[in-house]
Amino acid sequence: MATSPIDPGREEIAARQAVMALCADASRDDLDAALRALEVSVTEDLRPPETGLVMATGRIGGDGRPFNLGEVSVTRAAIRVPDGTTGFAYHLGRDRAKARLAATLDALWQDPARRARVEAALQPAARRADAARQRAARRTAATRVDFLTLARGED
């Protein structure tokens, strides 16, 4: 697609994926707040937000041949901002408004002049997600087993 103002290199894609992952984990309110903090220009739907399915695949034995595990519901959105940049979002679930917000953030992020502001606007969501992950890890860690070895019988 020639709609992106930049030729995406590997690092560029990784950074864009990181923002997409952040938006996928965030709530709709988080994205709404982020977008309100930016100056949101009018966006045009390239394609109306749509809910569909993606077949989730696993691997036999965890690392072997793929197999179809079952589907996940996914909502996608594609928008265009006035400068012509297109933004995309694919999220688990059925929240069309959220996918549209994320697609808008994806388009804004692609503009190097706005990138830092988009990332800053997403910081509260990133911090919340990180805190939730750490809390989950700490609660899990408390259930880790410490085995005691008991000496038995005569030596």
Binding site: T57, E71, S73, A137, R139, T143
Partner: protein, 368 residues
Amino acid sequence: MYVAVKGGEAAIDNAHRLLAEARRGDAAVPELSVAQIREQMALLVDRVMTEGSLYDPDLAALALKQARGDVVEAVFLVRAYRTTLPRFGASTPVDTGAMAVERRVSATFKDLPGGQVLGPTFDYTHRLIDFALAAEGAVEPAAEAEPRDDAGTCPRVTDLLAQDGLIEASPPDDGAPVGDLTREPVDYPADRALRLQALARGDEGFVLGLAYSTQRGYGRTHPFVGEIRVGEVAVEFVPEELGFAVPLGRVRLTECQMVNQFKGSGAAPPQFTRGYGLSFGQSERKAMAMALVDRALRAEELGEPVASPAQDQEFVLAHCDSLQATGFVEHLKLPHYVDFQAELELVRRLRAEFEQGRDRAGMQEAAE
């Protein structure tokens, strides 16, 4: 002669209104919200997602509410809903090795990198009814501890065994297209990928019963739980218009690696064999049963006699789906007036012939 009849519309409408009221139950009792079902009946929601073969906790919770808690009915609603949606494509295979582990236990090794982590489990509870739960009350907050340095890295137990060649390798990814039983009917013999798809969406009770049968001697596999892990993994999808993997979000999965008795030959030294289970949400019983039946269904591949139900793939795959099973069993309650009238006439004729035969025999006897 039978003349087709119509009718019952008013009765059906009123039955559905009555169902709606019965679903609601006593109006003096507060109504359940979908969020309450999702959060507090989480394992039931996981089961509906697994057997409905659609990961969407809110949808599964809503289906359970609509189905009055009937699992198979909820699965039916979820499966019907999915047929209304377009398929965007298939995900890249999820990496369970990179799972954010919430629970991980092994029955084969005590000391593992990453440790044994119990997580939220019914294991070791006394299974005494807790009457305190009948009253509403605050819950004591879960304990917290600093994760140890190795907590982030949980290699699969099977990978540890594989380093020494003690266990067979997983079948390699040869890039061949993956069969999908939701798109094409199953042809027998079905390959292992297709069997795993069928088992993953199969009825937990049926798969559990088959798994149990292998332990009781109907196709023994000498299993050990190499590992069970529960936690979230990232799901990624490569849309055509982008050409790179887009992170869709995270799903909670349960994985079971069953380690089974060895197989060797003149050419290859003995190695442990494997069975594999993977399911949506926290559903250990299902993942374990799936892994046992997966291994049993490999009997022919591993040169074992195929003599028991759990080893017979047509028997297992054709009967493990709760929706197919309930459809055929429950259709029996629909009107069969024409079929039955035919049977009725046949049995009357046979009885008449029987009576005639007896009369003739009686007359012959009298004549002799």
